[in-house]
Amino acid sequence: MIRVRNVYKTFKTPDRKEVKALVDFSTDIKKGEVVVIIGPSGSGKSTFLRCLNRLEEIDSGEIFIDGVNIYDKKVNINEIREEIGMVFQLFNLFPHKTVLENVTLAQMVVRKRNKEEALEVSRGLLHKVGILEKENVYPAQLSGGQQQRVAIARALAMHPKIMMFDEATSALDPEMIGEVLDVMKTLAREGMTMVVVTHEMGFAREVSDRVVFMDEGQIVEEGTAEHFFSNPVHERTKLFLSQIL
């Protein structure tokens, strides 16, 4: 479903230094697979996610989603993005819109659903993430965990084929992490294709099919969550795991 081939991506820092975010990066993600990406900060894991829906431009290489090269100039990237839901570390809910409007807006504007249909989809998803009773409040009145669940519902409302989570629980107070992870676990069990950047190894162990450890823009090691817990091979992996576990 996702095929990444030889992707290079460099950033220029404000003082004009070049930072290599992705170096000759290749991987495949199958339909229904749940892939967890771990790694130290600056290892390129968020950049990789952001390249999958072209929030970043790449220097070279190819990324195919369902066989379409998304960096092809002829591709309408908006159509690709409809199929890829993204959940951000800082939620990025629309603060001037109510919970219900947040979930409904893109369905009507992008998917061209009529209002009744969009409302029905929205309410169903808000119920699913357990926040239906808050449909008429503004994001500022919600806790971090509630906001993130609304953000997940907003992404799901487009009925995407792939869901990406960019450190979705990193900005949350500890007591709220569980409620968001529960929603993510449910999704994983329902067979959603998921690419998840996270430090939550418990999540990785419970639902992931594969864990990818990245450092300096490259895949250092990959395997099942059990592999990472029992016998990681590389020194860098061992060091990283000893720091987060």
């Binding site: 829906n53 929030l55 908006n78 159509e79 993005r81 409809e82 890829i84 839901g85 993204m86 951000f88 800082l90 990025n92 809910l93 629309f94 603060p95 001037h96 819109k97 109510t98 807006l105 893109a106 504007v109 992008v110 998917r111 503004y138 994001p139 500022a140 953000a151 907003r154 992404a155 487009m158």
Partner: protein
């Protein structure tokens, strides 16, 4: 809009200042005989207008006619300034270097030349080429002038919105224009209401400059009335007060809008 406590206090302070000025004039040896009784007829009077239209009824006096024209030109200019400003604000942030340079050029050109000169150029040069009326030329000059400032305010407003808002919109499949329209601009406009209000208040006051192209606005009519009666003190105080009525109303209205939009905070 309900008149709240704060606006009553503001009005009270203004009244005290006005009285202080008046006191200063009357007790400081200027022997001036005030003729305030001549002012009401300059606002409204009852009677016929001319030989052709002699039917007596309540009619607007000279100052009120000027007030209405200033109100019209101000509203029209604010309307066009918002449109120009939004376009300029967005194009200032365009990825297209030519578009960006054009809108920057516009802003710099307009902000760095006097409004009075612009009014003359638009009225005499552009206006005579396009056969614009004085009203159209005046409105165009004021809109173009204020549009440059509004453009910079809009740009600052857009830039103040966290980039995650654009990314979230785009990741949902919205195009750039859709994201701007539904997500970025509504939030930006809410944030820039205070500087916009200041800009529009300036615009109402700056509109007094169109009197130089013989547009019969409040300032022009005030000058006419002074020329006819020599009651310069009374008339200019009244003119100032009438401008104050417009700007103060505008100020109150924007504060009301600001409070209304604060519900999502």
């Amino acid at each position: 809009m309900t008149i709240n406590k704060r606006s009553l206090i503001t009005l009270g302070v203004l009244a005290i200042v006005t009285y202080a000025v008046y006191y200063f004039f009357t007790r400081r040896g200027i022997t001036y005989i005030w003729h305030w009784e001549r002012i009401p007829e300059m606002l409204f009077y009852y009677g016929g207008k001319s030989a052709e239209d002699a039917v007596p009824r309540v009619r607007m006096g000279i100052l009120m006619m000027g007030f209405v024209l200033t109100l019209k030109i101000s509203i029209a200019s604010i309307f066009f300034a918002i449109i120009i400003g939004t376009v300029v604000g967005i194009t200032r942030l365009s990825h297209e270097p030519v578009t960006r340079a054009l809108s920057l050029g516009y802003v710099e050109l307009i902000r760095n030349t006097p409004l009075l000169v612009q009014i003359y150029i638009i009225y005499f040069f552009v206006g005579s080429m396009l056969r614009l009326s004085a009203f159209a030329a005046g409105t165009a000059a004021l809109s173009i002038f204020a549009g440059a400032y509004v453009g910079e305010i809009v740009r600052a407003g857009i830039q103040s919105i966290h980039k995650g808002q654009m990314e979230a919109s785009r990741s949902l499949g919205m195009g750039y224009a859709q994201a701007m329209r539904h997500i970025i601009l509504p939030q930006a406009f809410k944030r820039i209401i205070p500087p916009l209000a200041g800009q529009f208040i300036s615009l109402v006051k700056d509109s007094s400059l169109v009197s130089v192209i013989a547009l019969a606005d409040l300032m022009f009519q005030g000058q006419q009335a002074v020329a006819r009666t020599y009651y310069a003190f009374e008339i200019y105080f009244t003119v100032a007060f009438l401008y104050l009525v417009m700007t103060f109303t505008l100020s109150m209205a924007t504060q009301y809008i600001e409070r209304r939009l604060a519900i999502s905070d």
